[in-house]
């Protein structure tokens, strides 16, 4: 019953996870929806990659694509996913079953629905231990208790005998984390792990994930819509928009010298404590494009205050920035002469080429003197 991938296929030298040109398209009656469109990245052992984007930008589909958790019908996934150097993109469900658990695990967004309401918490944790690691019952139970303790659940010995509805949302999410960590995965996907939780417990859960990750030298993909969540926690951050990575850099570089106007807009939309009361919250005008029918040129152009005629015609390619590992896709990047000129031109005429005059008035980026 030892369920392990043949050791020879794996290589310790290879990066833990390499994603190359991954695309996930859904066939719908309205046409092909490009939920993930040509995404590439590499994740080394023990590192955290934050994937940031607003709703519908494809970040959840991306993590599910890598995990192989897509619906069975009307999906087309192309590209390669290499796990420890082994191509797992063509793995069947049965083969993936050996990867899930001890190699990769996932924490879901809503702890209210990701626990089985009629199964005791202890059983939900021991299930995978007994199944993957062939652990005897007593030993698995002991491990379940110590796992619950390690995720900060008080009186773990009592909790294992309780049902999910007896716990609060934050406690449930801790249980979900304990379940995901049970088999000691090397790669953990956390899909908006704090979105369904009260703000007061969000930080606790994130700190817990952080601590567990460091302790286990586990790689983590942290998916969120909140740049504030990944700030200070992720080593690298990838910003996704309309199924594509539009900017990727180390966390430090990204916050210090972002190039993509979308990243800038995301950052501005985080309310700050020093704002005067009743300050209007900054938001990004418009909504993400219809992925079944994406606009010509840059996907973000219709909402971008830097947009020029060229953005509506020509899709920007990912280009390297000044710092290592920094890539972005923009014709008029923030913080460059071209970008400043573009913004000045738009401010002067009061609208961008993508907008009608009457539609939205464009605003100055907060705190920038352009």
């Amino acid at each position: 019953m030892a369920r392990r991938i043949v050791a020879g296929e794996r290589s310790v030298e290879a990066p833990l996870l390499e994603v190359e040109d991954l695309s996930t398209h859904f066939r719908t009656p309205r046409g092909r929806v490009r939920a993930v469109d040509g995404v590439s990245f590499t994740l080394e052992r023990g590192r955290t990659l934050g994937i940031v984007g607003e709703s519908g930008s494809g970040k959840t589909v991306l993590s599910r694509s890598i995990m192989g958790l897509l619906p069975r019908t009307n999906v087309e996934r192309t590209g390669t996913i290499r796990y420890e150097g082994t191509d797992i993109s063509e793995y069947s469900q049965a083969e993936m079953r050996e990867v899930w658990g001890p190699e990769m695990a996932m924490i879901f967004q809503d702890p209210m629905t990701s626990l089985n309401p009629v199964m005791k918490i202890g059983k939900q944790i021991t299930e995978s231990l007994r199944f993957h690691l062939d652990m005897p019952k007593g030993e698995a139970n002991d491990l379940a208790v110590s796992l619950l303790r390690s995720v900060g659940i008080p009186e773990p010995a009592k909790r294992v005998k309780e049902y999910p509805h007896q716990l609060s949302g934050g406690m449930r999410q801790r249980v979900v984390i304990a379940i995901a960590l049970a088999c000691g995965p090397k790669l953990l996907f956390a899909d908006e792990p704090t979105t369904a939780l009260d703000v007061t417990v969000q930080a606790q859960i994130l700190n817990l994930l952080d601590a567990q990750q460091r302790e286990r030298f586990m790689a983590m993909v942290l998916v969120t819509h909140d740049l504030g969540v990944v700030a200070g926690r992720a080593h690298d951050i990838a910003v996704m928009y309309a199924g594509k990575i539009v900017e990727k850099a180390s966390a430090k570089t990204l916050f210090a010298s972002m190039r993509m106007p979308y990243t800038e807009a995301l950052l501005e939309s985080i309310p700050k404590l020093e704002y005067a009361s009743h300050t209007r919250l900054a938001s990004i005008p418009g909504r993400p494009p219809d992925l079944a029918n994406p606009p010509k040129g840059c996907n973000f152009a219709p909402r971008c205050r830097y947009a020029q005629e060229r953005c509506l015609e020509e899709e920007p390619e990912l280009q390297a920035g000044a710092d290592t590992g920094h890539v972005f896709a923009c014709h008029y990047p923030v913080g460059t002469e071209a970008g400043a000129e573009a913004l000045a031109r738009n401010l002067a005429r009061g609208f961008t080429p993508a907008q009608d005059e009457a539609e939205v008035s464009i605003t100055q980026p907060a705190g920038s003197g352009a």
Partner: protein
């Protein structure tokens, strides 16, 4: 007003004749029930129905061991006029053959309930498996199963049952169905609805995140069905089954009334009702007692089923 209040309450307690006359432990049971009903808010009707069902099931299932219940035709008592009605020695009176009707009702209930339970268990298991498979795997499997279930549901069930009995239990001139044939014919009534309802519940649960979560921990489909979905599907199925039991009891009664249910020496409630029909004008109690017991049993089953169903929906929402 303050004087009216106790009277009014008194009225309510004696206002339920069947339950009041049914058991000597009734008053204490009711007092205890009252406390619980306030706590869990299931209502007095729920507990009265439960008490009634416990009495009916207890008596019918224990019938062979009860001294006051005779086998049909064992001790015919011709000294009593069938038209005389209930008396101290024959609680429900006697019928034309001199049989004690109370014993008949108890023995009839035994067969009626056995058939109903067998039919529902058959439906629970086969309908449950089929429904879970359809709801979980979806796609072509689901389309085929759903089509078959829809066809079964489109038939008038009783007509289909009659046809099946006519085919499987006829020797050319007479129809003498055996217990398995009746159970098989009536199982149309339970398999199709239970399959459909299980499919619906499974569809909903298969979409839930904890199923995906189990999958990401390496659980196989069979394992997910068994460990994750089955425990969630069983409670609502069981509640629905209560209503199905009631439907099956009625259907069996209808078959028996037409003379197409299990043959002698088995009695069923439907047969007893049919037996009393020619004498309806002179001795209505021969029909009334089995019909009344059957009516109350079905009412109780439906009532409990309804209440539990509403409780389950509430609890699901709170999760």
């Amino acid at each position: 007003m303050s004087e009216l209040l106790p009277d009014h309450r008194e009225d309510q307690t004696v206002g339920i004749p069947e339950a009041a006359g049914a058991s000597p432990g009734e008053t204490t049971a009711k007092a205890a029930d009252d406390g619980r009903s306030r706590k869990r808010r299931l209502g007095i009707g729920f507990w009265l129905s439960t008490v009634w069902l416990v009495i009916v099931f207890g008596l019918t299932m224990l019938a062979p061991y009860l001294p006051f219940v005779d086998e049909p035709g064992a001790f015919p008592d011709f000294s009593v006029d069938p038209a005389a009605g209930p008396s101290g020695s024959h609680w429900f009176g006697v019928n034309n053959n001199g049989d004690d009707i109370f014993s008949q009702v108890v023995n009839g209930g035994r067969t009626s309930l056995l058939i109903a339970f067998a039919v529902v268990i058959l439906g629970f298991v086969s309908g449950g498996i089929v429904g879970m498979v359809a709801g979980f795997f979806r796609g072509r499997t689901d389309r085929v199963i759903s089509a078959i279930v829809d066809i079964l549901l489109a038939f008038p069930a009783l007509v289909l049952a009659l046809a099946m009995i006519a085919i499987f239990a006829s020797d050319g001139s007479t129809v003498r169905p055996s217990m398995p044939v009746v159970i098989g014919a009536l199982s149309i009534l339970s398999v199709a609805p239970l399959a459909r309802i299980t499919r619906g519940i499974t569809l909903a649960f298969a979409e839930r995140e904890f199923v995906t979560a189990a999958r990401t921990l390496g659980a196989s489909n069979i394992r997910i069905l068994r460990k994750e979905i089955l425990p969630n599907v069983i409670p609502p199925m069981a509640v629905f089954s209560l209503t199905v039991i009631a439907v099956v009891i009625v259907a069996e009664g209808a078959l028996a009334f037409l003379g197409l249910s299990v043959g002698a020496p088995n009695q069923t409630w439907g047969k007893l009702i049919n037996d009393g029909r020619p004498r309806l004008e002179t001795s209505p109690h021969i029909t009334f007692f089995p019909a009344g017991v059957m009516f109350l049993t079905i009412l109780a089953l439906n009532y409990i089923g309804d209440i539990l169903q509403s409780k389950f929906t509430v609890r699901e929402g709170a999760l």
